[in-house]
C-alpha cells in the first residue's frame, strides 16, 4: 500500500490508521459474463463493420492535403476498432465479473463495480428513496435482473447489474421495506 502522509487530519479528532475498503461479500451471477459479452458484441460488431466501410470509402476518395494524409492511414481504423472489440468481448466481461461485488449490511448497501476504472459505493438504507428491479430483453433471456437504487442525489444512486432474478426481486422488496422503516429526513 502507498505511504500515508501523517494522519488524515480533521476527521473528528481521533487519528485513524490508513484505511482500505474490503471487497463486498457477494459476487454477481456467472451468467452476467455472458450478458456483458453479448452487450459489447452488439456494440463492437456494428462498429467494426462501420470502420471497414469508412476505411474503404476514405481509401478510394482520393483526397489531397491534410484529409489525404489522414485517409492514407484509414486502414488502421478497422484494426484498432477490432482490437478494442476483442478486448471488450473477450477480456472485459471476465474482468468485470471479478470486480463486481455487492453486499447489504444492516443499514448500508455496499457495491463495487467497474473493471478498468473502479467505483465503490456506500448508500445507507435510511437514505434510499426508491428501489426498482428491472429486466432488459437480454437479461430476460439469461434470467438476470438489475436493481436500481435511488437517493435524493444522483451521485448517491446506484445500479446492481447481473443479479439472478430471484435474488434481485427479493433484495428490491427487502430494501424498499427497510428504507421505508428507516427513512430519515436528510432530504
Amino acid at each position: 500500500m502507498t505511504a500515508v502522509r501523517g494522519a488524515p487530519a480533521g476527521d473528528g479528532g481521533d487519528a485513524r490508521p490508513a484505511a482500505r475498503l474490503r471487497a463486498p461479500a457477494h459476487r454477481v451471477s456467472r451468467r452476467a459474463i455472458a450478458h456483458w459479452a453479448i452487450e459489447y458484441l452488439l456494440v463492437f460488431g456494428p462498429a467494426f463493420g462501420l470502420a471497414l466501410g469508412v476505411a474503404a470509402w476514405a481509401g478510394s476518395a482520393g483526397w489531397t492535403g491534410a484529409p489525404g494524409a489522414v485517409a492514407a492511414h484509414a486502414g488502421w481504423l478497422p484494426v484498432a476498432v477490432g482490437a478494442a472489440g476483442v478486448l471488450a468481448v473477450g477480456v472485459a466481461p471476465v474482468w468485470r465479473y471479478r470486480v463486481h461485488r455487492w453486499e447489504v449490511s444492516a443499514d448500508v448497501v455496499y457495491t463495487r463495480t467497474g473493471w478498468f476504472d473502479r467505483e465503490w459505493l456506500l448508500v445507507p438504507v435510511g437514505r434510499i428513496q426508491t428501489v426498482d428491479a428491472g429486466q432488459g430483453w437480454l437479461e430476460r433471456l439469461l434470467g438476470l435482473a438489475t436493481v436500481e437504487i435511488n437517493t435524493a442525489s444522483h451521485t448517491g444512486s446506484s445500479e446492481l447489474t447481473g443479479l439472478p432474478v430471484g435474488v434481485a426481486t427479493r433484495l428490491a422488496e427487502d430494501l424498499a421495506r427497510r428504507a421505508h422503516d428507516l427513512r430519515d429526513d436528510a432530504t
Binding site: M1, V108, W120, H154
Partner: protein, 499 residues
Amino acid sequence: MTVRADGRPPGEREPGAAPPPARQRLHPLTFVVGATRELLALLGAGAAGLLVGGLSTAFYFTLVGLAFGLVFHVTTWATFTYSVGEERVELRRALIGRTVTSIPRDRVRGVDVSATLGHRLLGLAVVRIDAGADGGEGELNAVSRREADRLRRVLLARAPVDAAAAPPARAVLARMRRRWFLYAPLSGAYLFTPFALAGSVLGFLYNLGDDLGLVTRDRVARLGHDVAGLPSAAVVAAAVALLLAMPIGSVIVFTLFNWDFTVTERDGSLVAERGLVTRRSVALERRRVRGVELTDNPFERAARVARVGALVTGLGDAAHRGRLLPAAPRAYAAAVAAAVVGPVPGPLVPHPPAARVRRIVRAAAPPLAVGAVAAAVGQGRVAVLCAVLTVLAVPLGLDRYRQLGHAADAHRFTLRSGSLLRRQVVVDRGAVVGWRVRQSLLQRRVGLATLDAAVGAGEGGYAGLDMAAPDAVAFAAGITPAWVEPFLEPVPRAAGRGG
C-alpha cells in the same frame, strides 16, 4: 400543527374539519401590468406599420391583437383564485376546463417575491412558490406587496402565523456595500452581459424590421458596404471604445441586478433581496439549507473576492436562487458562510504530490494530442497554436493542484477544487446521503482516489479530487463512521502506519 399526507383529492374534506379556506383573487390591478407591456410593444409595432404602410392591414391586426390581449388578461384575472389552507395551497384556474394546482404546505421549500418596474409602481409583486420535485410549482402573478409578504411569512413558517401580529424580528446576515459593485468586471459573466443585451436588442429590431418588410437585400448589402468602407482608424477607435465600455457596462448591469443586495434571517428562513429596477426576493427555508459554496475565478482570487451560494435541498435553478452574495471581500464572504452553516473547517489538507502530476497531465494532454495529430498531417499553424496552449496548460494544472483540499470538523466538511472557477463547498455532515469512491487504472497505480460525497442538496454530489486512496476512505469513515467502518479491511497497525 398536524400534517396529514393523505391522498385526498383537493377540495374534499372530512366532515367536521375546519371550513374550507377563503378563496382569494389576485390583485385587480394585475392585468394593467401585462396589458401595458403588450400595449407598448403593439403600439410600437402599430406606429411603425402606420409610418411605413399607412392604415394597412398590419395596423388593424395590431388593434385586434391589442383587444384580444386585454380580454385575455381580464379573463385570466377573473377566473383565477387561490387559497391557503391548513395543509395545501391551491391555485385554481377555471376558464373552460378547470385546473387546480395543489401544493402541499409541508413541501414548500422556497418563496420568491419579485416585482418588475411596472409592478413596483402599482405596489404589486409576483409570488412564486417552489415545492421541489414532488411538490410542484405555483405562481401568483400578481398580488399586493403586503399580501406577498404575508404569504411568504405564512408559507415558510412551521407554525400558523397570525397575520395581524407585528412582523417578527429580522437579523441582517449580509449586505452589499456600494464599493463592491466595482468588483463586477472581475467576473466574466457580467463583462459579457452588455453584449448579450445588445445582441438581443439588435436581433429583436432585425426581426421586427423583417416582419414589417423594412429589411431588404439592398439595404443589408448597403449597410455591409458602409461598414467595410469605414476607415481603419474608425474601426480601431470603435474597438477601443468597446473595450473601455465593457467594464463600465458590467458595473452598470451588475448594479441593476444586485442593487442593495441584502440577506436577512427571519422566522426560520433566509431571505435574499436584490435589484434596482426589478426587485427580487428569494426566501429559502433555513432547515433545507444544507451547506454553502464559495466560488471565485483567478481575477477574483487576486483581488481577494468571492461569491457565496447556498446548497439547498430540492431547489430548482439553484445557481440563481441560492445566491447569497454576488461578490464580496473574502473575509466577509467567509463570515456570511459561517453565519449560514457555521464556521468553515480548516486549514485545508493538501492532496498528495501524485495529484499534481495528474492535474498537469490532464490539463496539458488534450492540446498536446491535437497538436501531435496536427503536426503529423502537416498543419504547422495549428500545431504551433497547440504547443502554446500546452505550455499555458502547465501553470493551469499546477494551480488546479494548489487549489485541491479537504477538511472536516465535528459538524461539517469542506472540499475545494478548480482553478478557472474555484469552488469550495461547505456541507453539513447530516446532508450526506452516500459515498462514492472512484479510482481509474492510472489513479490506482499512483495510489490516488476521488471521493464523491453524495449530498441531497445543491448539485447532488461534490468531489474530493485525487485524494490519497487511504485518506479518501478515512475521510468518509471520519464523517459517517457507522456506514463505512463495517466495510474497512482490518489493517495490522504496524503495516498500516508504515511508510
